[in-house]
């Protein structure tokens, strides 16, 4: 093809310009370490990168969320542990008070310490989390949940529990409400409660033992009345006799699937009640214990009342300890979920990061060798341009 002087000049210059712009691009890739500089460089990869980065950012958020939940649950766990310690101390005090060797004054001293423990438990119920929210107030985190009123301890919070998302598919409850922890505790041994009649004249006291037949225990209310010192009858709520039996002190009595014992010497006409266990809050249980400890124990009859009260209270304390353990187990399970989520997320985040890196980042070896190649090509173009420009027939005229 015939070449025109201007045309070949332009094409050589254009060639160099193109090589320079390619070199500038490669240089940019090397200096930013990125292959995709704008979405137009690779629209499909750019779309993937954006959605991967959205996921990475979401996972970073989930990490922040789990940290917040973890802090709150750890604080709750500590509070539950402290509440357990209080209850165990109360249990020790109760056993000490029940030893029989104590006089009324010593028991009153124990009752005073018990009052202190109750206040400690109340303070635990009113604990705040790291951001100053009441831990056990449900959603009403600005309201002090446990307030003592004339009628006893009142719960001023609600039963809301908030959830926080810790992964795209999982949310975790960030705590327990105070109703759940301190108020909604199974009474008695969890199945049935027993009590002695207030007007009992004898020295018999009743202790609940266990449920021997789950199916037979229907959960009704019954009254056991002593016909004489050696025999009793059991009446239902309508006063209809449903069972009778002969009495021996301390022997187990099985009735309707439950087992209990009456110890001492009940008088004819003394009554004991057996009923389905309801719910009783820990504070009421402890208040009753304190009241029991202040009862006089001068007579047989008084001692029977005292023993029944202590037995009931010990049952309530054990139920409370079980309940707190239950709640702690739930907290533990949640913390465990968070650990699992954290582990899974760490792995996934790494994968996502490496996916983004594969899509977006430049292969430095490839890019630098490309840069060197382009540099060589440009140098060659420049040299050949200089050589080519020197060729002219006019030089020989």
């Amino acid at each position: 093809m015939r070449m025109s002087t201007l045309g070949s000049h332009y094409s050589l210059v254009n060639q160099m310009l193109r090589q320079q712009s390619e070199m500038a691009r490669t240089q940019m890739q090397v200096s930013t370490q990125r292959r995709v500089l704008t979405p137009a460089d690779d629209p499909i990869a750019a779309g993937r990168i954006l959605s991967l980065e959205t996921q990475i950012s979401a996972y970073a958020q989930y990490e922040r969320n789990t940290n917040a939940v973890q802090t709150r649950l750890s604080i709750e766990e500590q509070a539950l542990a402290d509440a357990g310690t209080v209850l165990r101390r109360v249990r020790d005090l109760t056993l000490q008070a029940n030893s029989g060797a104590l006089d009324d004054v010593s028991r009153a001293a124990i009752a005073t310490e018990l009052d202190e423990r109750i206040r400690e438990l109340q303070a635990i119920g009113n604990r705040r989390d790291a951001s100053g929210e009441f831990l056990f107030a449900g959603h009403s985190t600005g309201t002090q949940p446990f307030v003592r009123t004339a009628a006893g301890m009142a719960y001023a919070g609600d039963q809301g529990v908030r959830e926080v998302q810790v992964s795209p598919t999982q949310s975790v409850r960030t705590g327990h409400d105070g109703f759940d922890v301190f108020m909604d505790v199974a009474a008695g041994n969890g199945s049935f409660i027993v009590d002695a009649g207030a007007l009992n004249a004898g020295s018999g006291w009743i202790a609940p033992l266990t449920v021997v037949d789950e199916a037979a225990w229907t959960g009704g209310s019954y009254t056991l009345r002593f016909v004489d010192a050696a025999g009793y009858e059991i009446l239902d709520t309508s006063g209809v006799q449903v069972a009778t039996g002969s009495f021996a002190s301390g022997d187990a009595i099985d009735f309707a699937g439950v087992r209990f014992s009456i110890t001492g010497a009940p008088a004819a006409g003394d009554t004991f009640t057996i009923a389905a266990a309801g719910r009783q809050d820990l504070f009421t249980s402890l208040d009753r214990l304190a009241a029991t400890l202040r009862l006089p124990t001068g007579t047989e009859r008084e001692r029977a009342h005292f023993s029944t009260g202590i037995t009931t209270s010990l049952g309530a304390i054990d139920a409370g300890l079980d309940h707190l353990l239950d709640v702690r187990a739930q907290v533990g399970a949640r913390l465990n979920v968070i650990d699992n989520v954290n582990a899974a997320r760490d792995g996934l985040e790494l994968e996502l990061q490496s996916a983004v890196s594969t899509l977006r980042d430049v292969d430095p070896v490839e890019a630098i060798s490309r840069l060197v190649m382009q540099q060589n090509a440009l140098t060659a173009a420049q040299k050949s341009f200089a050589q080519f420009s020197q060729l002219s027939l006019f030089d020989y005229l």
């Binding site: 954006l50 958020q61 908030r162 719910r279």
Partner: protein, 628 residues
Amino acid sequence: MADVMSTAVSGLLAFQRALDTTSQNIANAATPGYSRQRVELTTRPAQPYGSGWIGSGVQISTVARVYDSFLAAQVRSSASSLARYDTVATAAGRLDNVLGESSNGIAAAFRNFVNAFHDVASDPSSATARQALLSQAEVFVAQMAGYDSRMRSFASDINQQLQAGASAVSALASSLAELNGQITEAYGRTGQPPNDLLDQRDGLIDELSTHVDVSVVTQDDGAANIFIGTGQPLVVGRSATTLGVAADPFDPTRLMLAVRNNGAAIDISSQVSGGSLGGLLEFRAQILDPARDALGRVAAGIVEVINGQHARGMTLSGAMGGEFFAIGAPTVLASTSNGGGATVTAQIGAASGLTGSDYVLEYTGSWELRNATSGALVPLSGSGTPADPFTADGLRLVVAGAPAMGDKYRIEPTRDLIDGLALRISDPAAIAAASPVRSAAAAGNMGSGELTAPVVTDAAHAALRSTVTIEFTSDSTYMVNGSGPFTYVPGASVDVNGWRAQLNGAPAAGDRFTVADNTGGVGDNANLMAIIGALEAPALGGGTTAIADAATQLVSRIGTQTAQAQANRDAFDVVHQQDMAAQQSVSGVNLDEEAANLIMLQQAYQAAAQLIAVAQSMFDSLLDATRR
């Protein structure tokens, strides 16, 4: 002798002209658009002698321009395409940079905003987290408004560039008309081609082809008739048409290309596809408008989702949430040629129905809605009254007043929505994080039944926050506020007073549950969790596309379009350079060639001069012979 002399002189004259032309070629070796010239030599008519025909020298038939009109047309065509794609690629690249940045682009803005909701959800009563959410919301609004204003400024840039391009085309047209006159006149006077004027005209046409696609038809008298686009005459002989801009019949802020004909402006935008003007029109219609529509659609989705759920929540002070964002309304533009007095107002009915298209509502005896791009009829339901508006594709249209036959309204559902995007709340406490109602089991319930947290379904219900008691009359029946009984099955929904909750577990007779006002519920995040869930749910495209995906799609679509335009530009850059090289190989000056010609002509000239010396000596010999 006389013959030798005159033959020699004809040679001297011819070679002198040829040397003149060679020097002109050498002098213009670097002049863009110059076509090399060549002296066409022919023999002069021979004289008859008895012994035969004796030649009588050389003559110049013409000074020709070495030029190929086919190659020239190819160069113009590729120049038009190159200018078009270069314009599109440059403009799209700017848009791509604005929206696509992964660290501060639209997708990142949305992400950070959603994360701020999470932070409040983790600690709902924290004033710091709430303030951070508001700040992030403000940043989000500002970022959206920033994109919107950038895109608006693109649109007004395009208006200015169209105006400037049109006046450049008009100036070229009038120069071309003038040159046509000079060329016709020069032809007529000499019968020879005025090469330099022709080069000048070709240069102007080349320049014109970078603005708009052109076709050239050369007339016998040397004039060139020039047509732009699909055949709109721009220059005919000595008369030129003025290309200008005129407002879109619907939108006065949108300029179109137009020619003036008898005072009336005729819109020729649809006929122009090449050159930088074609590129501008293409970028506006294919990339900019859809991008603005898509961004508006994303905003509409976010606002609908957040406002809808926020209104169902309770603020820190116990009030109902209300609106979180304010947003603009769809644009309705009446045609300037409308004769009737009807007014049309549009509202977004459901963001998930929005398509991102524009529509034209026309009165043809009844109202017809058509897709503005495809022209497809969109079925309308409703009657168009405020009580029963027309609904179609997520829009609600209300018409009032009397339309005339053929009246048209253009509806741009999402293009200008972001103009009205603003934060409605400024008090961190006004973020409705909590649910307005909460459930509780009564103390002393014997069963294991549970009532889930109530979910608000109707925020406007008058008795929403009234206390409702659910009491089990047996383990399988329950009363709600004393009415009933209802049969209990685990998982049963209770729908009362604008909320819904589920009963689970095994309740016992006498168990009670209450749903009551969430007074003091400052630690509740239920409503935020609902907002977060809704933001991640597919809220757009008829329930197929999540908001984050819509934002990503917008970015990748612009990326794809930019990549396409860049690929086209690079391709046409190569094509254009090849066409130029082809043309240069025919018309361009080669200095070595000219040097060779110079040597040849110089030698020929010297030889012709020698002939004169020979003639002189022949004449002297004759004189010497006759002197004796």
